[in-house]
């Protein structure tokens, strides 16, 4: 018990939680924007891969780190656009399109990577983002050391939470996105474009998802590996429901999951001899389900989620 307390009170634990949470923050925000507009984006897992590959590859080809981030976002946006075209004006199954995008994005990334680097034995590395020392903030007690260990991308993720919250809560665009996800007719009747809003939301959301992937290869690690996304995208799909489609709760959910994961590693290390290590690996997922059962009792679905809308039809 003492050990647990020590872990929970240690700065490095919270630093690790935030680090683990960062790609999830990007991903869950991205999924949140898509779903708020009424479209489920199961392409997320593949878009993570694309972001990871493109961001890394760009830097490896000689661009700066932010250039890589930009390319990753654009690549994510591109796959988002494909999903948007299929699901919004064409109104095709969001499930199939999404899973198809995941398969497509993943295989394109892998195929491109392998075709570009046919004979690597050890994946080439780049110089990743370094921890960012922000003067005043890093002097804060406890919080300082937690934040001080984070890279620019984690700061970007936190900034995005604020930005997405602000847009949804305080701007006309945000109101329109929320409205189109609840009742597209309300938006159409006010002269706004349902298609435009939804396509825009999916493209922007997918760009954010890709940043989650880029974090993995440009900050959490410095090379691209097959399979390294390892289900993180799917976790975001779960977290967005846990978060009831709210950015603040999304941050909380991602941090909670990150903390479960960071705790899992530490407990497995210490107690692995007593119980099978897998018990700990399962813990973040089980705890997430429990959290959902307790918290999201009245998950408040965007009412138009999964329902395509065609102009001039009812």
């Amino acid at each position: 018990m003492m050990d647990l307390l020590n872990i929970l009170l240690s700065e490095s634990f919270w630093a690790a939680s935030l680090r683990i949470a960062t790609p999830l923050i990007f991903g869950v925000l991205g999924a949140l924007i898509c779903e708020r507009s009424g479209v489920l984006n199961l392409g997320i897992e593949g878009i993570f891969v694309v972001g990871a590959m493109c961001g890394w590859m760009t830097v490896w080809l000689g661009s700066g780190l932010w250039g890589g981030v930009l390319v990753a976002a654009c690549a994510g946006a591109l796959f988002g656009l494909l999903h948007a075209i299929l699901t919004v004006p064409l109104g095709l199954s969001q499930h199939v399109s999404g899973l198809g995008i995941t398969l497509f994005a993943t295989s394109v990334s892998y195929f491109t990577y392998r075709t570009a680097l046919p004979n690597v034995s050890s994946p080439p590395r780049i110089e990743p983002f370094q921890a960012l020392d922000i003067p005043v903030l890093s002097d804060l007690p406890f919080l300082g050391p937690v934040l001080f260990q984070q890279t620019a991308l984690t700061w970007l993720a936190l900034l995005m939470v604020l930005l997405v919250w602000y847009v949804l809560q305080r701007t006309a665009l945000g109101v329109a996105i929320k409205a189109v996800g609840d009742n597209p007719d309300s938006v159409d009747a006010q002269g706004l474009s349902v298609y435009g809003l939804r396509i825009g939301a999916i493209v922007a959301g997918s760009a954010l998802m890709a940043l989650g992937g880029a974090f993995l290869t440009m900050s959490a690690f410095d090379a691209f590996f097959f399979g390294m996304v390892n289900g993180r995208g799917w976790v975001c799909i779960a977290l967005v429901i846990f978060a009831s489609w709210r950015p603040g709760k999304a941050l909380f959910g991602a941090l909670l999951f990150g903390a479960f994961d960071a705790l899992q590693v530490r407990l497995q290390t210490e107690m692995g001899a007593l119980v099978p290590g897998q018990i700990f690996l399962m813990a973040p997922y089980i705890l997430s389900i429990i959290a959902l059962v307790i918290a999201a009792r009245s998950a408040d679905y965007p009412r138009a989620l999964l329902t395509p809308w065609f102009k001039g039809q009812r």
Partner: protein, 301 residues
């Protein structure tokens, strides 16, 4: 003689450390002109048998791969194609006439690298992050731990498996957690661990591949696997028409050049280097046998 047609089938991408060693040896043989080499990577377990048959049908003379988890099916395929030579990574034995096996038997250099780690730790706590607790991994970890205990009876280990071959960020987090808990030497079974070690300025021990170039000043030593000895031997036998279903495992032993220890002597105490070299000589001379233990290793406490 004509180049031998060789196909390899891997269940993971060729960057995976274990596979990368086979891939490298085959590429080297291909560059020498001994073989024509093709491969399929990331072949799902379900598809493995079909791919084996496809290659056999294509007239491949030697098929290399790994059949952990498909032992039976692979042997069935081999018996259907008696003209084709199969050389497969396997935990089990060979079967006549054409199914030979190998494995990464580099527990010897692992033991030696353990001695270096045991001498290097001041906190007497060594962190080990693994992918899956399979015999191929467990055995090297145990050899490493035995080596460390030999030079430092007080040493303790933290062990963690991430249940993934390919999640460097996760491996990195595990390593951070161990260093938070006091580990001051890391055993880098997976990509990501050495990176964490570099960030914390903690030394690390490499495994299977030599990454000292990537992490100068961090990697004290690595136990390296060389598949060349195995592959060259098999290719030679196929070319000579006398490929046999034997266990090629021994070609991974140090004595055959299949395993070796590289160390960065600038980072290691001279007396440790001397002790390691003496032990190495004992191993090569047959005076010392490293114990083989395939059980899942667990943290001490």
């Amino acid at each position: 003689a004509d180049a031998i047609k060789v196909a390899a089938i891997y269940t993971l991408p060729v960057e995976q450390q274990w596979i990368s060693r086979i891939h490298k040896a085959l590429n080297t043989a291909a560059e020498r002109g001994d073989i024509e080499y093709v491969f399929s990577e990331n072949v799902a377990n379900t598809d493995y048998e079909r791919v084996m048959r496809e290659y056999a049908e294509q007239g491949m003379q030697l098929i290399v791969g790994e059949v952990f988890g498909l032992e039976r099916a692979a042997r069935k395929v081999a018996s259907d194609y008696p003209e084709t030579a199969f050389l497969m990574g396997s935990s089990f034995g060979p079967v006549g006439p054409n199914f030979a096996v190998f494995d990464n038997w580099i527990h010897e250099p692992s033991y030696l690298s353990g001695m270096i780690a045991g001498a290097a730790t001041e906190s007497n706590l060594i962190g080990m992050v693994g992918g899956y607790a399979i015999p191929e991994v467990n055995r090297l970890m145990h050899a490493f731990m035995d080596g460390a205990r030999e030079v430092n009876p007080d040493v303790k280990f933290l062990v963690n498996f991430i249940d993934s071959w390919y999640d460097p960020p996760k491996a990195k987090e595990s390593a951070f957690a161990m260093m938070d808990a006091g580990a001051d030497v890391m055993y880098a079974e997976r990509f990501g661990v050495s990176d964490a070690a570099v960030e914390r300025g903690v030394p690390a021990i490499g495994n299977v591949i030599d990454t000292s170039g990537d992490y100068p000043g961090t990697i004290l030593a690595s136990a390296i696997w060389h598949m060349e000895a195995t592959i060259d031997k098999a290719v030679e036998n196929v070319a000579a028409g006398n490929f046999e279903a034997i266990d090629y495992g021994q070609f991974s032993f140090m004595a055959f050049g299949g395993g070796s220890l590289v160390m960065d002597e600038s980072l290691i105490a001279p007396e440790t280097v001397a002790a390691v070299k003496a032990k190495e000589a004992d191993i090569l001379g047959g005076l010392f046998r490293v114990n083989v233990n395939d059980q899942r290793p667990v943290s001490d406490n």
